[in-house]
Structures are given as C-alpha cells and as structure tokens.
C-alpha cells in the first residue's frame, strides 16, 4: 500500500535536512508503530507523507498503491485515502466540525466517483460515528478544535478518522494527552476502524498504547532514519532500556552511522 524508499526531506527554502533516508513498507491490514526520541523526525515523516508544503523532498520516493505521490498536493493525497491525526491539532475558528467533515467527506467521495451524502443523510452517518469513540454531539457544532481541551482535540482527530474512513492513517502521538479512560475508548475506536483493507501507522512514545492497539511492526526512528524494525518485543526493549542503549548496541554492531 505504502512504500517509502530512501526518503530525504528538508525544510523548504532552507538547508535543514530532517529526513535522511527513510525506508518503510506498509501493507493493507497492517498496524505499524514508530517510536523514537524527541526531534528525531517522526512528525516530519507523517507531514511529508501527507504533503505539507513546508517540506521539500530532495531524494527518494513515496509510493501509494504503486503511484508516486511526492508531487501531489495534500488534498489530492487525502482523496487517495491518506489521513493524518495531528500531534497538535489546529484550531480553525468559524468552521464547525460538522461543516468541515461534510465538505471533506463529499469532496473525497466526489474525487472517487462515490456518492455524496446530502445534509440529512450525512447527519445520520455522522451521528453513528460519534459512538465509535463516545463523543458528545455538541462537538459537531463547535468550531474545529477551538477551545477544545488537549485530550478532546486528540479524540476529535480519531472521530474525523472514523468519519472519513481512510485507507492509510498516520496517528501522531494520539495517546499523549488522553486520560486513562479516554485512551481506552480511543484505542477501542481505532481497533474498530482497523480492518484488512486499511492500514495504520502510529507514532508514540509509550508502550501503553501498544498494549491496546497491537502493532504488527515496531520501528525506531533516530536522527531522520528508521534505524531498527521489529515486533512488539522491540517496544518492550525500548521501554526497559531507553534509546541510548539501542544506539550503543547499533554502534557496536556497526549499523549506525
């Protein structure tokens, strides 16, 4: 589904290279987790894949279902089914959650020759989705993320994911900021959305999330590269020993630069 090959990216117009040769392959039905120290480039990777204009791909390619999407605008990538749950969801005053989602849903439907929903049909559809993460319907008529608490913003991202039903989702630290109960509810929601046709890439700092949403693969990102991949046990190892130990081990093995 997604194939990232030797991806290098820098800040547009500047000489700051952040991604330094990322390789990643994600198939339908898989759940991946990316872990890594602060500033290692995890969010940047998710933004570059989604088409954020602030970054420029200088080398490598991003293939989505075989198509190179590096030149596509963010909205065109979204039409292909790419979704990003932001680490820091943006407040957009004046536009309600519902307006955004109806417009987004129908735009994506149009781009894929699927049927659009009229406002009444959409109302039913969206109300159903509220249950997925036990969200109150008052959030529908509030401006996007405006005045939402930190946890509410994160929840709202997964709610949007449920409504838009993407093919591939990047969840950037969705667990940070959620209380214990909310984390469970949101994780249940993600598990409900996950199926054998879609895929999820979670970025997280904590093994706790992975206890709720079981990843098939765990990757470690450091200094702009995915330096190690493994299964769930890699997360446990990191939780126990930290990144330093991993880095040393890799140096000893001559795998790190």
């Amino acid at each position: 589904m997604l194939e990232i090959k030797n991806l290098h990216a820098k800040v547009e117009g500047e000489d700051i290279e952040i991604l330094k040769g990322v390789n990643l392959k994600v198939n339908a039905g898989e759940i991946h987790a990316i872990m890594g120290p602060n500033g290692s480039g995890k969010s940047t990777l998710s933004k570059v894949v989604s088409g954020h204009p602030e970054y420029e791909v200088t080398e490598g390619e991003i293939l989505f279902n075989g198509e190179d999407i590096t030149e596509l605008d963010a909205d065109e990538r979204a039409h292909l089914g790419l979704f990003l749950a932001f680490q820091y969801p943006v407040e957009v005053p004046g536009i309600t959650n519902k307006t955004l989602l109806r417009e987004a849903y129908n735009t994506i439907a149009r781009a894929n020759d699927r049927e659009e929903l009229d406002p009444i049909e959409f109302e039913d559809y969206i109300t159903e989705k509220l249950d997925v993460i036990e969200m109150k319907d008052e959030f529908l008529s509030r401006s996007i993320n405006t005045g939402f608490s930190g946890g509410e913003k994160k929840k709202n991202e997964i709610f949007q994911m449920a409504v838009l039903n993407p093919v591939l989702s990047f969840l950037d630290e969705t667990d940070s900021g959620l209380d214990i109960d909310a984390l469970k509810v949101v994780s249940d929601g993600v598990n409900k959305i996950a199926n054998d046709k879609n895929a999820i890439v979670m970025i997280t700092h904590y093994q706790r999330l992975l206890n709720y949403i079981k990843p098939d693969y765990v990757h470690v990102m450091m200094a702009g590269k995915l330096i190690k991949s493994g299964g769930f046990e890699l997360a446990e190892e990191l939780e126990a020993n930290g990144y330093d130990a991993l880095e040393k081990e890799l140096v000893l093995n001559g795998e790190a630069q």
């Binding site: 204009p53 605008d73 963010a74 943006v90 307006t99 955004l100």
Partner: protein, 485 residues
C-alpha cells in the same frame, strides 16, 4: 460549506486572474464645471440644479464654514492630500439629467449598469428592489417610483426632493450630521451634487428594498453625494448601497454624507457593499472614501442598524454611527472591512447612548492581507441619563501574510453606573497550518481559504439582505484570491 458558498467558489474559479472587474470607463459627453472651488462655483452649482434660494444659502454657508476648517489627520492612514483646487465639483452626463423614462437614458450609461449587473429595466431587476442609479454627480434613474408612491413612500434623487419636498428636506437635512461636523461633511454640504432621498410615512413598512448604486466614471470629478432617510413613527425600511469606479492612476475623492432619522418605533436597516477601485499593487490610484454616516434613533423603541462590507478604496475613513436618543432604542453596527495590496482602512463606529435602556451591538471583522493597514476605531459613550443601557462590542482582526497590519482603537466612556459596556477583541492569523489541516482532510486550498474567511465573517454577513449576502461572499473570494501562500 453552504450551497451559495460552493457556488461562489465555482464562480471564483472562473474569475481567477480577473482582478477588479468593474474598472472599465464609459464614454459619455460631460457637462463639466471648471476645476476648483469658490463661492461662485457653489452658487453656479446650485443655479444649474435650479435649486431654491434656501438651498443656495445652505451651500454658501457651508462653503465658508469649510474654508475655515482644517483637514483632519488623526486617523491611521497616510496619503497624498486631495488637491481641492484641482477637482471637478460638478460633472454630469450631458443628456437630460432627470429622466421620465428609461428610453431617455444615454445607451452607454445603460450599458454600464448592465455590465455592473444592475439592469435598470424594472422587469429585469431583482424583484423587490428599487434602484436609484447615481452616475458621477447625478441620479440617472429611479425605478419603481410609482409602486412606492402607492404606499406613500417617497424614493427619489436628492435633487428632486429639494424641489418636490422642500419641507421635509429643510426639516431633516443636516439635522443628524451638522454642516460643521467635520471637514468633509462641510465640503459635502457645500457641493453635494445628488444622492437619494427616502421618506417612509407613519406605520408603513416599505414594500421593497430600496437601493442606490453609485458609480464614479469621470476621472477628475469628486463624488459628493448626500443621502437622507427618514422613517416616521412605526415605519420600517431596508436600504442597500453599492459602489464601483473605473481604474484610474489618479486618486478620486468620494466624500458622502448619509443621514438616517428613525422616529418612535421606526426601524432602518442600512447595508453597504463598498467596492470602489482600490488602486494597484503599488498603491497607485484608487478612491479616497471619506464618508460621514450617522443615524439618530430619535424616537423611543426605534432601531437603526448599519451593515457594511468594505472591500474597495485606496483609503477609507468611515464611522457609521448611531445616536441613541429615544428610550429603549437600539443601534447596531456590523462590519467586515477587507484590505489587500496597499489599501488603508480606518473604520469603525460610534454609539452615543443618551436615552434610557438603550442598547448597542458592534461586531467588527477586519481582514488584512498584502501590505495593507486595517484599523478599527470604535467609540461607545454612555451619558449620565442613559440608565440601564448596554453595549456589547466584538472586534476581531484576521491577518493574512506577514506584511499587513491590524489595529484596534476602542474609546469607551460611561457616565452611568447602571449601564454596562462589554468589549472583546481578538487578532488571529490565517496560517499555513490551518490551511494544511483542512487540505489534509481533502479540501482544496482555495476552498480552505474561503471557508476560513467565510467562517470569520459569517456573523456579519448574515445581517445582509439575502441578495447581497451571495454577492458579498463572491466579492470576498475574488478579493482575497491569491492572498495566501
């Protein structure tokens, strides 16, 4: 996104790159005065307009008052002062100014209004909107006059009102904006050429929207129009004003005075879409829009509401105000001011609470893009006797890009402890992050921008009459096209 909005966006796509689409000129023969101003010019103007003696004297007095006044400089804008000696104070198309039938209108002028989307034929007009078309200095045509007359409503050009309804004009002209109120009101009182006059009799709801469409065509002429709206006890009216001008490299002066009078239980709603030419990227050309607009809620329970969408002009100085004299009267000001390129707008309102239990609401939304400068200046004054009065003000600014400016200058004074004044102000920037967020959800860049802008201004635009609201959305989209990114 609403239906109109997405239509507006589609429309927008076809307009991309179109810039200011009203910038054409009309080829007409003019009857001009020599340039410059003097008592002789003022008298000659009055004579050409066949005005009665009292009007001539009104003008001459105003001229002398103006001569002694200083041009104001207190606002947040810089520009080359108009050269008052180099202006044309009267410029009328040569054909007979006041016309009985549309057939008499110069075909070129008729075509102009067609192009502007304001056909003058009644059957082609928006149903339920009567139009007074002002071309440079004179009113060209007023539609639906007869239908309005049946309801007792007088809607005609100011020139005609001076001749046909002198008692009303004498009683109310300059009763809200005194001649000496400010430099430009004095100048306007001396040389105003035309404008609209509306009178709604007692207990009458005006059967249709009234509107005036102003067009400055002649390059060197100033436009000084004068509008007076009087709503008698229990009367109500909704009035719309639209304006455009051709693109010239020279600045043109527009100095209007608008007065509204609402008696007991009367209701006046005044809406403006101002789209004068705003000059080019380098700030060359464009209209100086120096306008005095004021209404008085003279009677108890009366209501005056100003709604404006200001998108044009090189420099705008404009503060539509309400004097709340009658007990329980209500004043409202809803404004969206958009500046792009090198435009400068200093606009806002004054709410003067004199009567008991008077209420005022101010909602001002400023959008600045390019290298423009957008200031809000609002005064709320609650006098000693205005027991139980309330004001609520919201003043939000949105910045697009890094080179523009937004400023808020509230002036609040309350001399009555039982009254309350509430003021909120915010400034936000339309960020790349917001646009990216919406685009990540599948929305195109242009739709994202237009959603953000429309979300920002919707509290104001919903106050506009429906036909205007659609127009307004489109205008905003075109105006801000390409401002981000």
């Amino acid at each position: 996104m609403s239906e109109e909005l997405s239509d507006g966006v589609k429309e927008l796509e076809s307009m991309i790159g179109e810039e200011y689409k009203y910038g054409f000129t009309t080829d007409v023969e003019y009857e001009d005065f020599p340039k410059g101003i003097s008592e002789e010019i003022v008298r000659e103007l009055s004579r050409v307009k066949e005005e009665p003696e009292w009007m001539t004297e009104f003008r001459v007095k105003a001229y002398h008052a103006w001569k002694e006044m200083e041009e104001p400089t207190w606002f947040n804008a810089t520009y080359n002062k108009p050269d008052f000696e180099n202006l044309l104070y009267y410029s009328a198309p040569k054909k007979k100014p006041q016309l009985d039938s549309l057939d008499d209108v110069d075909p070129n002028i008729r075509e102009t209004y067609e192009k502007l989307g304001i056909p003058l034929e009644e059957q082609k007009m928006l149903s339920g909107v009567a139009v007074d078309a002002v071309f440079d200095s004179v009113s060209i045509f007023t539609s639906f006059k007869e239908k309005l007359a049946e309801a007792g409503v007088i809607f005609c050009s100011m020139s005609e009102a001076i001749k046909e309804h002198p008692e009303l004009v004498k009683k109310y002209l300059a009763s809200v904006v005194p001649v000496r109120d400010n430099f430009y009101s004095a100048l306007n009182s001396a040389v105003f050429s035309d404008g609209s006059f509306c009178y709604i009799p007692k207990n009458t709801k005006c059967p249709m929207e009234l509107s005036t469409y102003f067009r400055i065509n002649n390059m060197n002429s100033g436009q000084f129009e004068r509008t007076l709206i009087v709503a008698e006890e229990g009367a109500s009216v909704s009035y719309l004003e639209g304006c455009t001008a051709p693109m010239y490299d020279e600045n043109q002066l527009h100095a209007a005075v608008v007065e509204l009078v609402a008696l007991d239980n009367a209701d006046i709603k005044y809406s403006t879409i101002q789209n004068w030419y705003s000059g080019d990227e380098n700030g060359k050309g464009g209209i100086y829009n120096f306008v005095t607009k004021r209404g008085i809620c003279k009677g108890k329970n009366s209501h005056i509401s100003w709604t404006q969408l200001e998108t044009g002009s090189a420099v705008t100085l404009k503060y539509p105000s309400v004097i709340l004299k009658g007990d329980n009267s209500v004043g409202e000001f809803y404004s969206v001011a958009v500046t792009t390129k090198k435009q400068q707008a200093d606009t806002g309102t004054k709410m003067i609470h004199l009567g008991k239990n008077t209420k005022s609401t101010i909602i001002s939304k400023g959008i600045s893009a390019g290298q423009s400068n957008n200031s809000y200046r609002g005064e709320v004054k609650i006098s000693k006797n205005a027991t139980g009065s309330k004001n609520y003000s919201v003043c939000d600014s949105m910045l697009i890009g890094q080179e523009c400016g937004a400023h808020t200058f509230p002036y609040i004074s309350s001399e009555n402890p039982t009254s309350s004044v509430e003021h909120e102000a915010t400034t936000s920037r339309v960020g790349e992050e917001q646009i990216f967020y919406l685009m990540q959800r599948g929305i195109s860049e242009q739709d994202a921008i237009s959603m953000i802008i429309n979300g920002f201004v919707k509290d104001v635009l919903k106050e506009l009459p429906l036909e205007f609201a659609v127009e307004a959305n489109k205008l905003l989209d075109v105006k801000l096209e390409g401002s981000v990114g």
